[in-house]
Amino acid sequence: MRSYGGIALVVAALACVPLLTASNVVLNFMVVALLIALVGQGWNVLGGYGGQYSFGHAAFFGTGAYVTAILQVRYGVNAWLGLVIGIAAGALVGAVTGVLSFRSGLRGSYFALVTLAFAEVLRIVASVAPITGAGVGTLVKLDLRWEAFQFQSRAPFYWIILAFVAVSLLIVKRIEGSRFGAYLVAVRENEDAARAVGIDVVRVKLTAMILSAAITAAGGCFYAQYFLFLDAGIAYGPWISVEALLAPIIGGIGTIYGPLLGALVVKTLGEITKLMTGHAPGLDLVIYGAVLILVVAYAPRGIAGLLRRRT
């Protein structure tokens, strides 16, 4: 799976899922898993390849979601145009966060804390600002036409989120084979050594952050269209920041298929937990935590790393 052929194969296989089952439960599960794969791939660009661990990807996810939803609800903008603007807005939030934190030289846990703070500030603002519907939330009007980016059945949603994931895979593949990708990994491995060979470290990190934010924002836009409801806790809540980093870390940090693999595993685990415990609230998070500790301790390169070692 070293080439674009590998991506084509994986995407083609996944595209067959709606042809094999019409079960809404299965499709819903897969849509959510792919959404997490997409958001996780966004995190992976910055965290996996660039070594900049963000705890606040909710900031980009929520911005994409809110911008798409609010443009439709309050300004009558077409949902597809809303998607494009939502992605751009997420990228902009990434640029601002990146400029502020990278220019002041924040690294490691300081960077993580600042991203967390940004997401939390946005969550609190969104929970009181009138434009987001504050405590009531924002409801996107039901309009089941493809022009409105809404569909009667789950299958089209599934194929669209799969297409988003496919694009994200292509972007990451492209990064891997480029000078920018080599620079990004160099920055992750050793910033001083990177500077010494002429790499503009701040610029490389910033580019990665903008790209990362845009991919994650696309996930937010999709979320708004799929669930048609947002509030501050959903859009900017820590849950999505956690999912965004859990998927790539468990699947294989800094690998192209890591986020997809991780999202499928994490979501499957979550479902199994729910079935076994009868939806005890929060128990899936306990399981996530345990799995995360196991992965970090025994498989620092995630599932993808384990597979590579075996073969």
């Binding site: 990708g181 990177a194 500077r195 060979v197």
Partner: protein, 249 residues
């Protein structure tokens, strides 16, 4: 002979410590210049200032006639000044080839050509056999070579080597000396910080001696080795006189 590097009256203060005290030196194009001095003399600090990793408290640095004082490290590297680190700083998760290619990318945007160019550089420092080895599993000698290779990969005009021979055994040092000579033969000016005096004697044409932040002597290697101020800087006050006394008596 034209001057490629000129360091003028550089001082650097760390809190109450004056690490460099109006230190000056120059390097002529195509030469090997050695910077020697006891531990803590400020040699590495001076390298860090030349390459932009530290800003001087006062003083100026000129490269090819243009002032570069205080420029950020990546711009100085792009001007053609490469450095190695005293403690090797490999990109540990990458192979030798990938490490070198990061440097080659400076003039080669394409991944394939950067990876290919890494081969020639590896060849020049004797790492050809280890191209696909992970940098993390290199020996000390291997890491030193990799430092050198990555610096060479940016195709510098001026190469600053910070103790590339430290930690090597005598036979490894013997292997490394011709590598450095070959680099100079390609027209690259070298400024080296070095404690291995036997190598300084055989490589350098000009030696500058730094002690307690001050440049106390300069000249050809043999003259420097006999300089009373240098002997005292290394061995303590009065050492030169006692040595002379011992030789005569």
């Amino acid at each position: 002979m034209t001057e490629i590097l000129r360091v003028e009256h550089i001082s650097r203060r760390f809190g109450g410590l004056l690490a460099l005290d109006r230190a000056s030196f120059t390097a002529d194009e195509g030469r090997i210049v050695a910077l020697v001095g006891p531990n803590g003399a400020g040699k590495t600090t001076l390298f860090s200032i030349i390459t932009g990793f530290l800003k001087p408290t006062e003083g100026r640095v000129f490269y090819q006639g243009a002032e570069i004082t205080g420029e950020p490290p990546h711009l100085i590297a792009r001007r053609g000044i490469a450095r190695t680190f005293q403690i090797a700083q490999p990109f540990t998760g990458l192979t030798v080839r990938e490490n070198i290619a990061v440097g080659s990318h400076l003039s080669r945007p394409s991944r394939a050509s950067a990876l290919a160019a890494a081969e020639d550089v590896a060849d020049a420092v004797g790492l050809s056999a280890m191209l696909e080895t992970p940098a993390a599993s290199l020996t000390v000698a291997g890491r030193k070579r990799l430092e050198l290779a990555r610096a060479l990969a940016i195709e510098p005009r001026l190469l600053l080597l910070d103790e590339v021979l430290a930690g090597l055994n005598p036979s490894e040092i013997r292997d490394m000396v011709p590598v450095i000579q070959a680099i100079r033969a390609r027209g690259i000016t070298i400024v080296m910080i070095e404690h291995v005096m036997q190598a300084v004697m055989s490589l350098a044409e000009q030696v500058f001696v730094l002690a307690e932040g001050r440049m106390i002597a300069m000249g050809p290697p043999l003259a420097i080795a006999a300089d009373a101020r240098v002997i005292e800087a290394y061995l303590g006050h009065g050492a030169a006189q006692r040595m002379r006394g011992a030789a005569h008596g």
